[in-house]
Symmetry: C2
Amino acid sequence: MSIETKFRKLGTDNAPGQEVRQSSGDIDKMLIGAPLSGRPVDFSHGDVDAHTPTPGSFELFTEGYALGGAQAYTEYRGNIGIRELIAPRLAEFTGAPVHAADGLIITPGTQGALFLAVAATVARGDKVAIVQPDYFANRKLVEFFEGEMLPVQLDYAGSGEGAAGLDLSQLEDAFKAGAKVFLFSNPNNPAGVVYSAAEIRQIAALATRYGATVIADQLYSRLRYAGARYTHLRAEAIDEDNVVTIMGPSKTESLSGYRLGVAFGSKAVIARMEKLQAIVSLRAGGYSQAVLRSWFAEPEGWMDDRIRQHQAIRDDLLSVFRAADGVTASTPQAGSYLFPRLPSLKVSPADFVKILRLQGQVVVTPGSEFSPHTKDSVRLNFSQDHGAAVEAAKRMVTLIERYRA
Amino acid sequence: MSIETKFRKLGTDNAPGQEVRQSSGDIDKMLIGAPLSGRPVDFSHGDVDAHTPTPGSFELFTEGYALGGAQAYTEYRGNIGIRELIAPRLAEFTGAPVHAADGLIITPGTQGALFLAVAATVARGDKVAIVQPDYFANRKLVEFFEGEMLPVQLDYAGSGEGAAGLDLSQLEDAFKAGAKVFLFSNPNNPAGVVYSAAEIRQIAALATRYGATVIADQLYSRLRYAGARYTHLRAEAIDEDNVVTIMGPSKTESLSGYRLGVAFGSKAVIARMEKLQAIVSLRAGGYSQAVLRSWFAEPEGWMDDRIRQHQAIRDDLLSVFRAADGVTASTPQAGSYLFPRLPSLKVSPADFVKILRLQGQVVVTPGSEFSPHTKDSVRLNFSQDHGAAVEAAKRMVTLIERYRA
């Protein structure tokens, strides 16, 4: 494969935050009516000004900087003192041991962990089971390493209470067909559904039976709403060498600006990830690593407040969307993604996303990024200013009415 | 190639900073005499406590943090305001235009830029010309992307005044054999030699004739000693689409803890690099990017001082090593790497490096990391406390005498 072909598949024009690089093309000719006024909202990522970084994060960075060289130059997998500090917290949270010395790596963001985990498990031609819909980078990573993607459908809309809706027989078929890796996010990005205990146990059982490695992206697993029940795959009956769990403080904790993530579990995979990190970026920023000291040790009540605020935004946005004819949306059980499905429109979904930006001052991520079957949905990260998000959702509904087929 | 095979080549045990993960093995049985006392010196990387970060860097980070979401979430290629600020400075420094909008990317460290540049130019099976000796990650990157390495020898010891000693006919042979990419560091890491104007012009002419892309790693190009003349490849007669230049403030400016680097030049390659960065790490740490505001705008006289201090350390270390029988060392013209060749010893070079650590409190990087032909050399990053570095070099000489064959 030529380098041009390889990179053609890696399109990022519709990726969150890259809208600035889009040209509007001929969209002007399709516009109906005047732009709507209101405070712009960028739903492509969370607003860390509305939901500010964990208290004390900047002070920890400052202390890290004051340590000088000892903090600037760490092992590629991260400072051992910090790994020893957070390993027991991650173990307590996930319900299974985390080995600070050789079972944990600190990475530049959760994206860094995901990249390294896929690179460390997927060789050219390897079959990889990927959920549809799921985080768009999953597909791109498998394609970049020339793996073969075996899609597994997630019926998030019809899954019923407390389950994500994974087609487990399709997952088993993928394993039967030779998939050596299964990569999934829980809660699901974009749909916000959480896998039930039964689903997680089935995934564990199937992976064990077929000797597959599971990469569990649990980035949003701390932000759970009332009634949600969360099951950690790594605490189920599965060989710890076959699971890598990925988390990070970029979302719920609003620490994205520090670029921090972690992967933990399989020692063999973590060792490979570190070897690769040595040539990819050396290490997560040394001073930034110090910020992890506050992770899972936030002030009393802080996380409860954050969850309460997000649940209130979620509920208000769901009310706005559900009041619109033909708009459907599952209730996110965790995380801050909402994935409403839009009714038939006079313009293509891709053009409507541009129209939302041009006429509605609203940036959303097109559903086509997450699955070929979710083109008429859009993803919103509702970790936003509450009032601004509700007003932006109302503008979206106004434009849905304006462009309704 | 299986994933295990692919990663076996990516050994990092001897990489700088990873000594902590080495086991000493049977080295105890080889030890002669008692350990030497003295302040430990880790020559595997610079000491940012001895040569502290650029004045104002922390304040710029603080201002970046205060900007909140606007600084935390930038385009994948980095904040446009910062790109616009540094592009003209890089243009002035290198003598050719730098396009802020589409010819420049900010990366997590210079390592991040190098990884992306190789990934964006080398497809499986592509031939790549690589200098021996040169920065050890170059080889590993080509191997990781399954390129074929065509080595080009650098006779740094016999190059004479003002030249690096590149075998230009071997470079042309590599291009004739189909090499599409040439990757080299200038000043050379580990030898510290600088390419002459004639060498750079020949490289430009050959790359142009054979249509090859050149990746010029100029990480250390600001720290030049008295008498050194530096020629920027990108300012020579070469199509700007065929050159990517890599720099960063991690070394001379001691900003490694912020993980910042840049690549600039070919728009096509930079575009591919950004697409990949979107799935590798998203972006260089947002707040850290703000630190680049001081780059190439340091206080008057600051860089002169830094150069003077390093030149003094260089000269003292050279005196210590050259006084030892059988130790040879070229004079570094730029950068802070010294690459002395050791005489025949009773132990292998690899074991001697371990002995230096165990008995001399001195960490160096084995020459075998840089070329198969430099096994009996060791690399020292002499950006250290002056007095401690000289004492450490003396301990090295004492141990050379003790283990002399």
